[in-house]
Symmetry: C2
Subunit: 245 residues, 2 copies
């Protein structure tokens, strides 16, 4: 019986993915599913609940279940890091979002000892200080990403990178001002289930994985100048990368 | 109580991630967790069960719970598509795996009408025929990926791409032979929970997300010549991308 609910949910998900059911569309109700699949009402309800817990659908009291309206965010790895963007004062974020409204929340900027794993990536000693910038990003009011950046304090202490407002073009532009323009980036991408704390941080629904991206930025000379650890709501992000042979 | 089990599992996961607990290491047993966290035996058991269902640990009957030994697969987007590799007859896969043993299973090669979404990416009509190559990849006996490639039949019909064995360098090398060398690639990466069918296909444990990668390959002239849809076990893969500003 649980199998059947899963199968119905998978069918509906395929229809959402194919665009047959568009964002905001009303999903078939319990009676319709009972009729189509010849299942018990309880099974039909469970199928719809699966889609809700997976973040694909929302329930409206007394009205039915609808395809989630939040549009996916397309994060184009290459475009967002292009010098044309931050070099002309735009934020990396505007490359992802176009005109969509976003806010930064819980911004904290402070100096601390480098965590061991970060120190390894920055090629510094674990006891050396780093400037840490942590914040959450909300798009149209929904938290979609938590990010923490680490930069060697000896490089950026006293610059706008150690302030709340990094100025036009943000951190990459300020690194360039200091003579450490980032020109090469490595991104490591992983998918996993969130911890309880992460689930609360991003207000994730029950069966939504997170995407963890660890980006290291290098100067022309190959010096690692920033490590950014990003935690993305797997339900809303599509990562795009453009590669050459 | 459920909260506490989650918290203990998260602590243990952090120790696995940091390398404090290495692959194959024995995790603290129930009595040790009861003592350390001051919880009930049932809670300690639930914490260990969470790690098992998430694919991070395995149980050995009468012995305890151990960190899963299967080493992650690092899939370097750039390196695997580099012409130096397939141009000299190596498979894209050997770039990911080095000396690790892998096998291809369930290989099917056939001609079919293009699915609508694929046709859009290949910029052909939905009714036009494509050569489809579908298979699963097993590493050290474990299924880690299912992949299906689609190529316009009018381009590759009669070539080794329509055979089981594509020959040295595989599909990219044969496309090059035909005058359609792939030089640019776009990869779209998504994370989500698997369907029941996908869970069986990749033998995924209970709380393991999949990573879906859709890659389109383009010739120098910008013609789309292949779309590959890949489904990866999110528990074993790390995707790496190298970018320039």
């Amino acid at each position: 019986m649980a199998e059947t609910a899963r199968q119905i949910a998978d069918d509906l998900r395929a229809r959402i993915d194919s665009g047959d059911l568009t964002p905001g569309a009303r999903l078939p109700g319990e009676p319709a599913l009972v009729k189509t699949y010849g299942v018990a009402k309880e099974t039909a309800r469970r199928a719809l609940t699966l889609l809700v817990t997976e973040g694909l659908a929302v329930r409206r009291r007394g009205s039915g279940t609808y395809v989630r309206e939040f549009r996916p965010i397309r994060r184009v790895g290459n475009r967002r890091l292009a010098k044309e963007g931050w070099g002309s004062g735009r934020s990396i974020w505007s490359a992802d979002l176009g005109d969509r409204e976003f806010t930064v929340a819980d911004l904290k900027v402070y100096e601390a000892e480098s965590p061991r794993q970060i120190a390894r990536l920055l090629e510094i000693e674990a006891s050396e200080p780093v400037i840490v910038r942590s914040r959450r990003f909300l798009v149209e009011g929904e938290p979609v990403q938590a990010a923490t950046s680490y930069l060697p304090a000896e490089l950026v202490r006293g610059s706008a990178i150690a302030q709340h407002d990094t100025g036009p073009g943000g951190t990459p532009a300020r690194l360039a001002d200091l003579g450490f323009a980032p020109v090469r980036f490595t991104e490591e991408v992983r998918a996993r289930m969130p911890t309880q704390q992460e689930k609360e941080l991003l207000q994730l629904s029950e069966a939504t994985p997170v995407v963890e991206i660890c980006r290291t930025a290098f100067t022309e000379e190959g010096r690692a100048v920033e490590v950014a650890q990003m935690l993305l709501d797997g339900g809303v992000y599509v990562m795009e990368y453009n590669l050459e042979s």
